[in-house]
């Protein structure tokens, strides 16, 4: 197997592993559009990172977190519905990112790569970031798992029972921001949310516990990455979209699988 394919495979598998449990929370908490908004803003993070000459992964994480904080503040301060706000922020940050990038004529970047991913061009350094970031998110999820479930079930009940709800929500946003930064190289800012929610949605029908759903989502994500890369390798299709198409096919197949009673 050529090196670039191995790198791509490892990067994809690391992402699929962490996207399972985190994506489950995105589904349970109905945060799909929120995830989309954060990922759209990632391009603005890239532009800012290039402008300030800092590490791009770091810039994307910071940008996503700032946007999440801005969103929460806006939700409390004015009467527009959340999805309206998300729509405004998603598209204006994406456009702002594109406009900022166009000003930087001395920087040559592969815009398509950022928008739709460039998995086959993952360098060993990229791979280290992706594997390290995924491992960090997985580790952080272990102590956060039960508090996150409690907050997801009933926020006020969790608060009365003494959980630091605001901090837990912020931690979840931070983790999602990290996964977005990690996943950008793999599927691109426009497709990231699909890797979070499609495997989780596919695993949902057959899961009886939250852990089964999270693990199932990881496994289906791994399968989608393998299928997508195979498709890309043999049919010369773009790798990121191929993975998403594979995930969508798995989702459809999950309906054919008989549900356990």
């Amino acid at each position: 197997m050529p090196d670039f394919l191995l790198n791509a495979l490892l990067a994809g598998l690391a992402l699929a592993l962490v996207a399972g449990p985190l994506g489950s929370f995105v589904v349970w908490r109905r945060m799909a559009y929120f995830g989309d908004t954060l990922s759209h803003s990632a391009l603005l993070g890239v532009a800012l990172g290039l402008m300030l000459e800092v590490n791009l992964t770091l810039a994307v994480i910071v940008c996503c977190v700032l946007l999440a904080v801005l969103l929460v503040t806006l939700q409390q301060r004015q009467p527009l519905a959340s999805d309206t706000l998300l729509g405004i922020l998603a598209h204006s940050t994406l456009s702002l990112g594109l406009v900022s990038l166009s000003f930087m004529q001395d920087v040559r970047i592969d815009l398509m790569g950022y928008l739709f991913g460039d998995l086959l061009a993952v360098s060993p350094t990229d791979l280290a970031w992706i594997v390290g970031g995924s491992a960090l998110v997985l580790l952080a999820l272990i102590p956060l798992w039960r508090p996150l479930l409690a907050v997801t079930v009933h926020e006020e009940l969790a608060k009365v029972e003494g959980l630091p709800v605001a901090a837990i929500r912020l931690a979840l946003m931070l983790l999602i921001a990290m996964v977005i930064a990690v996943a950008m190289k793999i599927v691109g800012v426009l497709l990231i949310t699909s890797l979070l929610i499609i495997p989780a949605a596919a695993a949902q029908r057959h899961a009886r516990t939250p852990e089964q759903m999270a693990l199932g989502a990881s496994l289906l994500g791994l399968l989608a990455v393998c299928c997508g890369l195979a498709l890309s390798w043999y049919q010369d299709t773009p790798a990121g979209p191929s993975i998403v198409v594979s995930a969508a096919a798995i989702f459809l197949l999950s309906f054919a699988w008989p549900r356990r009673t």
């Binding site: 589904v27 349970w28 908490r29 109905r30 039960r146 479930l149 409690a150 997801t152 079930v153 009933h154 006020e156 009940l157 608060k159 009365v160 029972e161 949605a201 949902q204 899961a207 009886r208 516990t209 939250p210 089964q212 759903m213």
Partner: protein, 264 residues
Amino acid sequence: MRPLQERGMNEALIRLDDIHVRFAKQAVLEGAQLQVHRGEIVTLIGPNGAGKTTLVRAVLGLLKPDSGTVWRKPKLRVGYMPQKLNVDPTLPLSVLRFLRLVPGVDRAAALSALNEVGAEHVIDSPLQSVSGGEMQRVLLARALLREPELLVLDEPVQGVDVAGQAELYRLIGRLRERYGCGVLMVSHDLHLVMSATDQVVCLNRHVCCSGHPEQVSADPAFVELFGQDARSLAVYHHQHDHSHDLHGSVVTGKPHVHGPNCKH
């Protein structure tokens, strides 16, 4: 069972004084006060928009009043039973897992809490599949698992049929006897609460009146003869011998007669 006094009934668990809360310049609470003691059942009643839930949220620390003091017994353990639970249908969660979200709870503890509330048969059911009445019991079981000193119940019988309501109130009374905890309840209707409550607080942004329902219909023979409903009706008439307009001011023109415990 020891008398309530010996179990320290007079120990205050919470004390709220002169609570003012405004939402978008609309006064929701204007100088409300509330106390709950150990072993005492206090029921908050009042019309829609009276601020019952707001006052409860202040008790729970979910809302900071604009002014007024909220005192809680230090390290007070609160068991809270919310009005309802909206768990996303995609979250695969059994009743057991839901109860085990309270730290340190194993299957045996969860089962004994469910036994206590008469809902042990749903322990392995998905949370979303239990009926309204069962859900209230499951929520109560979760509150009990916290070994609460204060049990806060926001409309505990919502979505429960009338027979189930009476049973649920009796259950709450039994739990108070058993654990000696204070209970703060919110209720819309009075038909079944009265026989299970020590103190009634009638709220309409301020405390209109409060007192022991027993003092209102003091004669035990009264209850014997007419049953729980009549007793609550007697209190009901006492509570609502005057009416409020949409702004909550007392409507004059009608005779405004105060009961023996009325404070304004």
